[in-house]
């Protein structure tokens, strides 16, 4: 049977109320929201480190928390692996002892010890103490330790948030492998749009203790209200810059070094994309990185020129306008957001419904995703 985590809990703490109800199946469910949205509180409630005021928690149909049936499993009996923001390695033990801390139930093991340490590339660290590891190494060991406890679901609470950009890039491929390798429900808490874009299959958006949106990643995170919630205040002040999110498949690399990227908008070209040919990725294109033209341009260095029509136009402050560019077939592709100056919009006499060409610089698509770019 497929494993799923069903959570319906309510917990009041001072003026804050956590009140959520969702089911997470196999694969990565991203839980995204600003700090203070209750994401970490939710995870530690699921793990049994905090008790909700009411509600139930079920894993694979079996109750972990169901007070009506007098079931309140202690954290050690919940079979949930948890990875925290800080690695929380036991300082007085070697890496190997840390990894072996959980008493393994070999029947439920996800993989052998050797397979897991190979996957995380930590075999050379086994005899070391946590004190001597870099931040990225510590977090890899912490992930391995959680996996070796043979969990039925994995809870990850901002595992990259305390790492610098280089370390995040180091860990990201391991997390992606995790998703592909193990058929587990994985709850991945983050406040970072790009991490969620890269890892999650489904996403739950939280604000002030409640779920404000949930669903497939592209669809949910393309919503402008979701974007202004997650990105609000950090880009563009009171008018956060919209972001276009597109599923893409990485194609072949041409002899000049550019990759062909298949998107719902057609094939685009990009250099240095993170991911092997054939793998899928998500593109995130900031509105300011799209140039609009009323005529099909020639003689430009821009490689990616796509045809569409002008959709809604939204004021973004006094000097700028956000323009939604619709594809010829609205069901085939998500709309693109472009931000232009009001002067440009006036002089080009942009009107909803008119044909338009959207220009995207190839280098902008290089999705060696800059995790720092948005928050």
């Amino acid at each position: 049977m497929t494993r799923s985590l069903a959570v319906a809990v309510k917990k009041v703490e001072g003026a804050f109320t956590l009140d959520v109800d969702f089911i997470a199946g196999e694969g990565v469910t991203g839980i995204i929201g600003r700090s203070g949205a209750g994401k970490s509180m939710l995870l530690s409630t699921i793990a049994g480190l905090q008790e909700p005021d009411e509600g139930t928690i079920h894993l694979g149909g079996a109750p972990l928390y169901d007070p009506a049936r007098n079931i309140k499993l202690a954290p050690e009996h919940r079979e949930l692996g948890m990875v925290f923001q800080e690695a929380r390695l036991f300082p007085h033990m070697t890496v190997k002892s840390n990894l072996n801390y959980a008493r393994r139930n070999t029947q439920a093991a996800l993989a052998t010890f050797d397979e897991i340490i190979d996957l995380l590339d930590i075999p050379h660290l086994l005899s070391r103490r946590p004190h001597h590891l870099s931040g990225g190494e510590k977090q890899r060991v912490a992930i391995g330790r959680a996996l070796l406890s043979a969990p039925s679901a994995l809870l990850m609470d901002e595992p990259l948030a305390s790492l610098d950009l280089a370390r995040r890039r180091e860990i990201m491929p391991f997390l992606e492998q995790l998703r592909q390798r193990f058929a587990l429900p994985i709850l991945y808490v983050s406040h970072n749009l790009d991490e969620t874009l890269r890892l999650a299959d489904h996403v739950i958006v939280m604000d002030q203790g409640s779920i404000v949106a949930s669903g497939p990643v592209e669809e949910t995170l393309s919503r402008i209200d979701v974007q202004s919630l997650i990105l609000g205040g950090t880009t563009g002040g009171s008018h956060p810059e919209p972001v276009t999110i597109m599923a893409a498949t990485i194609g072949a690399r041409a002899s000049d070094g550019l990759y062909a990227i298949d998107t719902p908008w057609g094939t685009l070209a990009a250099p240095d994309i993170a991911g092997a040919p054939g793998s899928s990725a998500r593109l995130r294109i900031r509105a300011r990185d799209i140039v609009l033209s009323t005529v099909k341009p020639t003689g430009l260095s821009i490689r990616n020129i796509i045809a569409g029509e002008v959709g809604t136009m939204t004021e973004a402050g006094s000097a700028q306008v956000d323009i939604l560019v619709r594809p010829p077939d609205p069901s085939a592709a998500p709309p693109l957001w472009a931000r232009v100056t009001r002067r440009a919009a006036t002089q080009m006499d942009l009107q909803p419904g008119q044909p338009i060409w959207a220009l995207i610089k190839a280098v902008v698509l290089a999705s060696d995703i800059d995790l720092e770019a948005l928050r």
Partner: protein, 233 residues
């Protein structure tokens, strides 16, 4: 010079026995109280904190007298112990060990409390999610991480017990071979004519013992810290 007389040997061995027993008796209580003070909030916490520190600030003779009132043969606790178990603490080395335990208690609790407070609760949570019961967490995480405080606190309490004078003489008297620890033997020697030579030797002995304890504390502490972090020091 270090040829000890029988009387000196007896006092030395008794001192060690009393101090070690006292520390051993106070350890479980000290740990429990330190845990309460470090990790729990409850009404009367400040009061408990104050009570624990009393032996540090009250004149030792007063503490000894209080113990005598409480644990003496006619005291409320003492008469009960005597009736139920036939235990008599007054004028016995066991009584001296109780004094040692009480006098060293604040030092032990302070060191343990600091050590417990320094343990990251996150480690405990991580261990629980890895399937460890509270007991296993205590044995595998808390005890090892608290061991520097345990060692420092125990040795401090041990040193305090070795030097104990006022409370001991008030509670259990000064009986050679039973309650006459080194400081009491030194006091008796200085009181008797011609006892200066024995006095000097007992002073030397006490100083040596103190230095040995300090050295042990430092060395043990260092090696434990090295073991805990794997860091070269």
């Amino acid at each position: 010079m270090l040829e000890l007389t029988d009387a000196e040997w007896i006092a030395l061995v008794l001192s060690l026995k009393v101090a070690v027993t006292g520390v051993a008796v106070s350890l479980p209580f000290g740990f429990a109280i330190a845990w309460l003070l470090a990790r729990k909030t409850f009404p009367g916490k400040l009061l408990l904190d104050g009570l624990v520190h009393l032996p540090l600030v009250v004149p030792p003779v007063a503490t000894g007298y209080l113990l005598l009132v409480l644990l003496g043969v006619n005291g409320p606790l003492g008469s009960w112990l005597n009736d139920q178990f036939g235990i008599r603490l007054v004028f016995t080395w066991q009584g001296a060990a109780i004094v040692a335990a009480v006098m060293g208690f604040p030092l032990l609790v302070r060191a343990l409390r600091l050590s417990i407070e320094a343990i990251d609760v996150g480690l405990v949570q991580a261990a629980r999610t890895l399937g460890a019961s509270p007991l296993r967490v205590f044995v595998t995480i808390i005890l090892p991480l608290v061991s520097p405080g345990l060692i420092a606190g125990s040795l401090l309490a041990f040193s305090r017990a070795l030097g104990e004078f006022g409370a001991t003489i008030a509670f259990v008297g000064n009986l050679p071979g039973e309650t006459q620890t080194l400081p009491l033997a030194l006091y008796s020697a200085l009181q008797s004519p011609g006892g200066e030579e024995m006095g000097y030797r007992l002073v030397g002995l006490s100083v040596l013992l103190a230095i040995a304890t300090l050295a042990a504390s430092e060395l043990l502490g260092r090696s434990v810290r090295r073991r805990l972090t794997g860091a070269p020091q």
